[in-house]
């Protein structure tokens, strides 16, 4: 049963407009800090995917660490992190050093790449009061033994959290969390479906804000917000626009600035993307029935029913095929292939994908970005030129 939670607008007025919801989501999405007194306790996790349900079942709030954006001044982290490293590692360290994240009660990172693994070492040396560790999700999900391993690692996480909160986390609590998150993922999928069917009705920036807001509040509250958003979207008056339909890749970890997404949307409809893909990592409902081991169900979903990214190897999901499917499902005519600066997995995939698109004669634009970019004129020019070339294609 999902608890109805009032949208915290500061009152009992539930007649919000779509603009109200968007503003609320914007405010939430752009929050970076974790205050000392936040209740319940907060567990921060580095990209891409994290089994939030287990944290949620422990009565804690999982907080996705999404970097410092383009308003953060990095002063302290440069002395700690090598120069040829992506900005999100630097800005997250900065947020630790400047106290922004002092309210966190734990820090997890995953073996998505070598720089991310280092975050555990940095956190442990600098913030010993915040227990930090690697959740060792496997890079091999193609073995018969994969589910069992993920299950064991999730059980380990469960006992770590249980020790932290001072009580067991019963199966029933995890099942209840699974239901909340299943609903949440369904609502996210619905948003993406609206985008795909009617891109003039819902922009990518808006979708992004709706999704990102969920990383700052309890999922129950987010579900209410999303349901409200969908209801209001259905009523939204729409002005038809004619822009090329494209897909966007590269936002799976370090996040591009909103202005960058806006710049692209000025010229194109981004129908599908991998922005914050970790939030939608599990692609179907996870079995939450009594009598089903919920941790096993969570582990099995990770292995069998999940999305794809450059930082999770899966022999069943060659990146080129995944992109071609994405283009087809989105009825998109082109791809925007981006990578964060110094993101080795992203850069490698960018090249492989562009070769395939060359072979398929699908137009594409290659861009590099940093979360801390503030000037977009050059990018706007490239995107405009690209969109124009699509119109003449």
């Amino acid at each position: 049963m999902i608890n109805d939670v009032e949208i915290s607008t500061g009152g009992t007025d539930t007649t919000m407009t779509l603009m109200d919801v968007l503003e609320r989501c914007f405010e939430l999405a752009m929050r970076t800090g974790v205050a000392d007194d936040e209740q319940p306790g907060v567990i921060g996790y580095f990209p891409v995917y994290f089994p939030e349900e287990i944290v949620h079942a422990a009565g804690l709030r999982p907080h996705a660490l999404l970097g410092g954006g383009n308003k953060l001044e990095v002063r302290l982290a440069d002395a700690r992190i090598g120069s040829f490293v992506c900005s999100i590692c630097r800005s997250t360290t900065e947020q630790g050093l400047n106290g922004t994240l002092r309210g966190m009660q734990g820090f997890f990172t995953q073996p998505i790449c070598d720089a991310a693994k280092h975050m555990a070492g940095i956190w442990g040396r600098n913030f010993p009061a915040q227990p930090s560790q690697i959740l060792a999700l496997p890079q091999n999900v193609n073995s018969a033994a994969s589910v069992r391993y993920v299950y064991d690692e999730y059980q380990r996480l469960r006992s770590v959290l249980a020790a932290q909160v001072g009580h067991d986390i019963p199966d029933g609590a995890i099942r209840a969390s699974l239901r909340v998150y299943n609903e949440n993922r369904r609502l996210q999928r619905e948003l993406y479906r609206v985008r795909c069917d009617d891109p003039a009705r819902l922009s990518t920036v808006e979708t992004y804000l709706f999704v990102r807001a969920g990383t700052r509040i309890r999922r129950e509250e987010h579900n209410v917000l999303l349901r409200e958003a969908l209801r209001l979207l259905a009523e939204r008056p729409v002005r038809p626009r004619d822009k090329p339909r494209v897909v966007f890749l590269g936002g799976f970890c370090e996040q591009p600035p909103l202005e960058m997404i806006e710049t692209i949307e000025d010229a194109c409809f981004i129908i599908d993307d991998d922005l914050l893909i970790g939030q939608r990592w599990i692609t179907e409902d996870i079995a939450a029935d009594d009598g089903v081991d919920p941790v096993w169900a969570l582990a099995e979903s990770y292995v069998e029913r999940s999305a794809s990214s450059p930082v999770q190897y899966d022999a069943r999901k060659p990146k080129e095929e995944m992109l071609m499917h994405m283009l087809r499902d989105a009825r998109a005519e082109a791809a925007i292939l981006t990578a964060a600066k110094f993101c080795e997995p992203g850069l490698d995939d960018q090249l492989a994908l562009s070769h395939r698109l060359d072979a398929e004669k699908v137009p594409y634009l290659v861009l590099e970005f940093e979360e801390k970019m503030t000037s977009f004129e050059q990018m706007a020019m490239q995107v405009e030129t690209f969109a124009e070339s699509l119109l003449f294609h």
């Binding site: 992190i81 073996p111 693994k117 442990g124 930090s132 033994a145 391993y149 380990r156 090249l351």
Partner: protein, 431 residues
């Protein structure tokens, strides 16, 4: 057939072994031998040997392009092909090799693989294997070996956590065995695996002693010069009688030096620990900069990683349960040695003590985030917490564009001035 000739020293023997190995790679296809591409940190060489695979080490191929001054050309080919300048230079050198019809500067035409094993101990290995998937059509076998989760992580042998992780690794080994049976048409021979492991056990024993020999004063070899040669042979001949022979020879020679008080550096003044990888394009020069001041690298974390963690599990294979034991030891080697990059501050401080070292030299690598990401933070911690003098220098594995002789020399000279000043102060205090 042993190539070990009686009466030859370790160095010559080692050279011959490496040459023989390279030559056999060149003829592998013609002889109908299956070929495996493996990485140094995390592989299943023991299983592959049991199936008779020829072993190609792309990391060794790439470092050799640096040593033989062919790297700029290969890297340029890769960058022209579209690889970002920021990608690992080993990967780019290998792409250059692929674009050069597999013609390696050693004179060998490298065979394409039937099997590629990429461990999770360096995520770039996996992206590298994906390139082979596309180039050669060789499916990657990703071997996930769970590492240390945090700095104080302990995984005592036989503990529930150790066994959980080892069981996962064993499951993957079984998948690998099935793949090898498919490729070679041979059935897995557990006895053969046990045989190979027995050889590795002897190599482990000898390697641990060789590493410990450098605790003597003066240090008989330079961890970051001589050590590199030892490792080349050790990796290529791991699990073979020849590999054991070589190490016995080497062990005896070094033991002899220790007995005679013979040091690598004629007048050893400072003993140092090295953290990071070599700069293969200029390693001799880099070491010279230190040795000219009487400085020797008594220890390094490189000899742990690049020897595949031979010294780190603290265990030998139990040849009565070869597959299970392989999984257990591999898991421990990963957790106690090969994932130390991320948490190495304690291990380095321990090495400082064990080897009575005067300082640590950190060598950051522009294109390697595995090595370099948190080096500065690690260094800050070690310097502050342990009050140890440290030096930070930066270049690259094999890309000569990142080597600046004057700048590096400047830093090295200044570091020795620091060490001298420190020593003078200490002797003043002791007066």
């Amino acid at each position: 057939m042993s190539v070990i000739t009686e009466g030859l020293d370790a160095r010559t023997t080692g050279q011959r072994l490496v040459n023989q190995w390279l030559a056999s790679l060149g003829t592998a296809r013609a002889r109908g031998q299956p070929v495996a591409y493996v990485f140094v940190m995390g592989n299943a060489i023991e299983i592959l040997r049991a199936f008779g695979f020829e072993m190609v080490f792309p990391e060794i191929n790439s470092l050799q392009t640096g040593v033989r001054k062919a790297a700029p050309d290969f890297i340029a080919k890769a960058e022209d092909f579209g690889f970002s300048p920021d990608v690992c230079s080993y990967v780019k050198a290998d792409v250059g090799l692929m674009l050069s019809n597999m013609q390696h500067p050693s004179g060998i035409r490298m065979p394409v693989p039937d099997l590629a094993i990429a461990s999770s101990l360096c995520n770039v290995y996996i992206k590298w294997a994906e390139i082979w998937e596309r180039r050669f059509g060789t499916p990657a076998f990703v071997l996930d070996i769970p590492g240390k989760r945090f700095a104080a992580w302990k995984s005592p042998v036989g503990s529930p956590q150790h066994l959980t992780d080892a069981r996962w690794v064993e499951g993957q080994f079984r998948d690998l065995i099935a793949r090898c049976e498919q490729i070679t048409g041979k059935k897995f021979d557990s006895d053969r695996l046990a045989e190979v492991e027995a050889h590795v056990n002897e190599m482990i024993r000898l390697w641990i002693e060789i590493l410990a020999f450098n605790q003597h004063r003066p240090a008989p070899y330079n961890s970051m010069l001589d050590g590199l040669t030892y490792m080349g042979v050790l990796n290529a001949w791991r699990g073979t009688p020849e590999g054991v022979e070589y190490m016995r020879l080497l062990h005896a020679e070094i033991a002899g030096k220790v007995a005679r008080g013979e040091g690598r550096v004629p007048h050893e003044r400072f003993r140092l620990v090295f953290s990071g990888t070599p700069c293969y394009v200029n390693m001799r020069r880099l070491i010279e900069l230190f040795e000219s001041h009487g400085g020797v690298f008594a220890a390094s974390d490189y000899l742990t990683y690049a020897a595949g963690g031979l010294d780190s599990a603290g265990l030998f294979y139990d040849t009565s349960r070869p597959l299970e034991s392989l999984a257990e030891v591999t898991t421990l080697a990963s957790q106690m040695g090969l994932s130390n990059h991320f948490f190495s501050h304690h291990a380095l401080a321990q090495q400082m003590k064990d080897f009575a070292a005067d300082g640590i030299v950190y060598h950051g690598i522009k294109s390697c985030r595995t090595v370099a990401t948190s080096m500065a933070d690690n260094r800050e911690y070690v310097t502050t917490r342990h009050g140890m003098p440290t030096l930070y220098i930066e270049s690259d594995l094999i890309d000569p564009r990142y080597w600046s002789d004057a700048q590096i020399k400047n830093r090295v000279d200044a570091f020795f001035e620091v060490l001298e000043q420190r020593r003078n102060l200490q002797s003043i205090r002791e007066c």
